[in-house]
């Protein structure tokens, strides 16, 4: 296909040009790929983009913390290791075969690592078992699409942004409003208008503490509507009936983190 050929040509030309670049220094921690958080996420995605043959990519911070992923054909198949302190937050992601559904969580892991771990170094190793890569995994395109969505949440407090990011990929439609400004909308366009209206209405409800609501039954396409407000941030979601309970639980953890998790 034309797009693939031009992409391959561009990569080939970049590879040719790279031969004339200064050799990148490789130290004990590996090859430095980013000095600042702003560049780190793009650098991580670039490493994935350049990994076609099966490799374990290990991203290491100066402090020794690391994220290790199993990559082939420019796709992430597994998260192999993360910092110990992050086990609770990213437990569902570690050691399991990834698919597009984990795109948001995976991107959040990279963003969090980039934020806390600059400068970042990378090294690549052959995996223990060189089995043929499967057809699953999270593609680079999926990661870049999610990154675009998550950057829209960058104005929110980090814990809220991280929690919301994992929620958004499992919704039929979503809308987030902060200080009257629409930060993010996604999904079914017909529902986006409804959710903007819900955000506006819910934000007028004055509550002493964050409140998370759900309404189910009788809505189009058998969706449930969820809404939550905390401070000047209001979020409204439309989710399938099958996903509404887990979505409600995630929303409560995002907006009322001290309330405990079901």
């Amino acid at each position: 296909m034309r797009d693939d050929r031009s992409d391959d040509t561009a990569r080939f030309m970049q590879a040719i040009a790279a031969f004339s670049d200064e050799p990148e220094p490789v130290g004990e921690l590996g090859r430095k790929i980013a000095d600042h958080p702003d560049a780190a996420v793009s650098a991580i995605l670039s490493e994935i983009d350049e990994t076609v043959l099966r490799r374990n990519l290990t991203f290491v911070a100066q402090s020794g913390e690391m994220v290790q992923i199993d990559v082939a054909e420019r796709r992430v198949f597994r998260v192999l290791a993360i910092p110990m302190d992050w086990r609770d937050a990213f437990a569902p992601l570690v050691g399991v075969d990834c698919s597009g559904r984990q795109g948001a969580e995976l991107m959040q892991l990279f963003m969090m690592f980039a934020e806390t771990a600059s400068p970042i170094y990378v090294s690549a190793d052959l995996p223990d078992r060189c089995k043929t890569a499967g057809f699953m995994g999270v593609t680079l395109r999926e990661l870049r699409d999610v990154y675009t969505d998550l950057k829209a949440l960058s104005g929110l407090p980090a814990p809220l942004a991280i929690a919301l990011g994992s929620l958004l990929s499992h919704t039929t439609a979503s809308c987030i409003v902060s200080s009257g400004r629409v930060l993010h909308t996604s999904g079914d366009e017909a529902f986006q208008a409804a959710l903007r209206s819900v955000c506006q209405t819910v934000s007028l409800e004055t509550q002493a503490q964050p409140v998370v609501r759900l309404w189910q039954g009788g809505l189009p396409q058998d969706v449930a509507a969820l809404a939550a407000t905390s401070g000047d941030v209001t979020l409204a979601l439309a989710v399938s009936n099958e996903a509404m309970i887990s979505a409600y639980a995630k929303l409560r953890r995002a907006f009322a983190p001290d309330a405990g998790a079901p």
């Binding site: 529902f191 409804a194 959710l195 209206s197 819900v198 209405t201 819910v202 409800e205 509550q207 503490q209 964050p210 409140v211 998370v212 609501r213 759900l214 309404w215 189910q216 039954g217 009788g218 809505l219 189009p220 509507a225 809404a227 309970i245 409600y248 639980a249 409560r252 009322a256 001290d258 309330a259 405990g260 998790a261 079901p262």
Partner: protein
């Protein structure tokens, strides 16, 4: 064998839901609590307030605004509503229309919600058939 009372049925339902502190069977049209089961003593005023919260959550002004936002003009559309904050979660499940009864739950903040709707709908159907 004697028949099981509604109160005993509600107690059985509450026992099958981890973290459930209150189950009330209420008539939303009159705002009256018809029967209840609680893990600790609750004044009737609190149970009445729970019923009012259920009417508001399922069909009050905010619920009506939400349903209108989705293009639904019918003021009474929602079968279930949740309202949760750091103190806990209130869940309301109404019977199939034209019945006006509903089950109102108060759960602890970390109570799992899976299965609640199925159990509630089954009990409402049973209570309606016995009426």
């Amino acid at each position: 064998m004697r028949d099981v009372t509604i109160g005993e049925e509600l107690t059985g339902l509450r026992g099958s839901l981890p973290g459930c502190e209150v189950v009330a069977f209420a008539d939303l049209s009159t705002g009256m609590v018809l029967a209840s089961s609680t893990s600790s003593r609750h004044a009737q005023e609190k149970l009445d307030a729970l019923c009012d919260a259920g009417r508001d959550a399922l069909s009050g002004p905010l619920a009506q605004d939400v349903s209108r936002a989705f293009g639904i003009d019918d003021a009474v559309v929602f079968q279930m509503a949740f309202l949760g904050d750091e103190r806990g979660i209130m869940c309301f499940v109404r019977a199939r229309r034209p019945a006006e009864e509903a089950l109102c739950f108060v759960l602890s903040p970390d109570a799992p919600l899976e299965g609640l709707q199925c159990l509630a709908v089954a009990m409402l159907s049973r209570l309606a058939s016995e009426a």
